[in-house]
Symmetry: C2
Subunit: 325 residues, 2 copies
């Protein structure tokens, strides 16, 4: 920066102001400095400045997985929004482990970020402690069933599970199956399932099978588990899947085996991912606003709401009735 200053015949401080576009600078000096910088091949070091001003143009993001489009879409929303003000997301993947999430948060704090974006409302005590100790701003996403540390953006999974149960009950189904993944580590899926199961029980209907893979969700797993469930003596009349990938896999199994949907078995997914509209049958699901949640969380970190504002920002998920129920 000194070199640029000398080249442009101004002080180092003026170069700094030009680089950041702050304060008053005359047009002449501005162009002079820019061309001097280009001539020397100078690239502004934004992180060194963060040292003096005590914050960096960074937002830390922790997502549970990258195997599910849901979170890459959230990330897209975050990235697109932060881009507008020169911030960048720095992310980590927790693989649905609270301890891994805790480690990641510790690591990301090491970067002195403007804020943090986490998934879900359940975190380790140590994580909560460090957050309040350091005072970083935190946006929690994807869930509103619980108490956020400061603000959360998302929807109620309990409501989503109930709503789907009611829909299927209303359609006349009385015996149900559930297919999940991640060995139950996905706590939001667990909330949906519990709410779903409760409504089923209250209605006097049956939950005849619950299957959960121990690995990440995928169409393959969905197909395999559906095969397993449908081989039983008394297969369920309707299957609720933890997400669309699993449900799509279920549909693929039925297509391949000639099982008629929804006559023999009804299927329901969760998320409303784009690829679902390309399947031969539109699968009943709950459409979630992933991208918008990312946008909302990022926007909040860029300009936090006043204290008086809501601690829970609802971005509702909507039941989408397809041709599989």
């Amino acid at each position: 920066m000194h070199d640029v200053a000398r080249e442009a015949g101004v002080s180092q401080m003026t170069v700094s102001r030009v680089m950041r576009g702050t304060g008053y600078i005359s047009k002449d000096v501005q162009t002079e400095v820019v061309s001097a910088a280009r001539k020397i091949g100078y690239v502004h070091n934004r992180l060194a400045g963060g040292n003096a001003s005590y914050d960096n143009p960074i937002v830390g993001v922790v997502v549970p997985t990258m195997q599910n489009r849901v979170f890459t879409e959230v990330l897209s929303g975050i990235n697109a929004t932060l881009e507008t003000s020169g911030l960048r997301p720095v992310f980590g993947v927790s693989e649905y482990s609270p301890e891994a999430e805790e480690d990641l948060v510790f690591d990301l704090l090491t970067w002195r970020p403007q804020g943090l974006i986490l998934s879900g409302l359940e975190h380790t005590d140590a994580l909560r402690r460090i957050i309040s100790q350091t005072g970083v701003r935190v946006a929690e996403t994807m869930d509103t069933d619980g108490d956020p540390m400061s603000v959360c953006f998302g929807f109620s999974h309990i409501h989503a599970g109930e709503e789907m149960a009611k829909h299927l009950i209303a359609r006349g189904y009385r015996s149900f199956g559930y297919i999940g993944s991640h060995g139950g580590l996905d706590l939001r899926a667990a909330k949906r399932f519990e709410a779903f199961a409760r409504v089923i029980r209250e209605t006097g209907a049956q939950l005849v099978s619950v299957e959960r893979a121990h690995t990440a969700s995928s169409m393959e797993i969905g197909r395999t588990l559906t095969h397993k469930v449908m081989q039983r003596e008394q297969p369920p009349r309707a299957i609720y899947y933890a997400n669309d990938d699993l449900a799509a896999g279920g549909l693929m199994h039925c297509l391949a085996e000639g099982i008629s949907v929804p006559e023999t078995v009804a299927l329901a997914g969760f998320n409303g991912l784009g690829f679902m509209s390309a399947l031969p049958k539109l699968v009943t699901t709950t459409v979630t606003p992933r991208y918008d949640i990312g946008v909302a969380a990022a926007r909040w970190l860029m300009a936090p709401l006043a204290k008086s504002d809501a601690h829970k920002v609802e971005l509702p998920a909507e039941l989408q009735i397809g041709q599989t129920s």
Copy 2:
């Protein structure tokens, strides 16, 4: 750090060494410092250190899109590998625009990264210039058809296109269609297509239709374009898709319309994404080592090969013959 030093009764430099885990520190002092830090609630500022040591624990990554699993898998490989040595990827999305890529590189250099990971071998002149001016290490990925700035990791798209053409010709097909996306901005897809078309022509077979969506690829687009192509008076006997999403959409169209595959029309995709194995028919495709490419590039940045080493690291893609050709 001063406060921690005082609390632990050592010098600030010793605290620095403990935080970074470098140099020789006695076990006693080490534990003393750690507990002092915890007591005060001190979080190490790693970016301030980057100031003094002239680079940060960061690798800049530019991917063309996040809509395609291919690149999120590359990112996963990069992330998992960098994690092992405390580095983090900081990424940007170019949306297949060379100018956007250029801007992103300029921005990422502002972070003083240890290195850069880019996609493809085609970049703007300004980008090449800044790279050589600043001397950052750059790994280019996904392609080996061309000259890397320093090292590239991937496979030949020309070979992949030729190989698929030869396979389909060998199966006896003589009239072909091609379905792509991104309005031709995906240069690697373009390489495959050109090689494919050349072999077709050389064999005396026909390329009867070429369709390209102007938007990102998806199953929906694949389904729509397949519908369009199959409506023609002389539909092709085999369709080569720019990627698996499009091909899967094509298969969905055929399933929904009762078009028999491969009897009426053969289908071939590209990438060999995991979800393909869940489809009712295994689609013929070329399996690409996305994750491994991310791993290899990241590993190289962590410990660059000697000058004498290869400038092109081949991670071969393999033809996978399925039930759709």
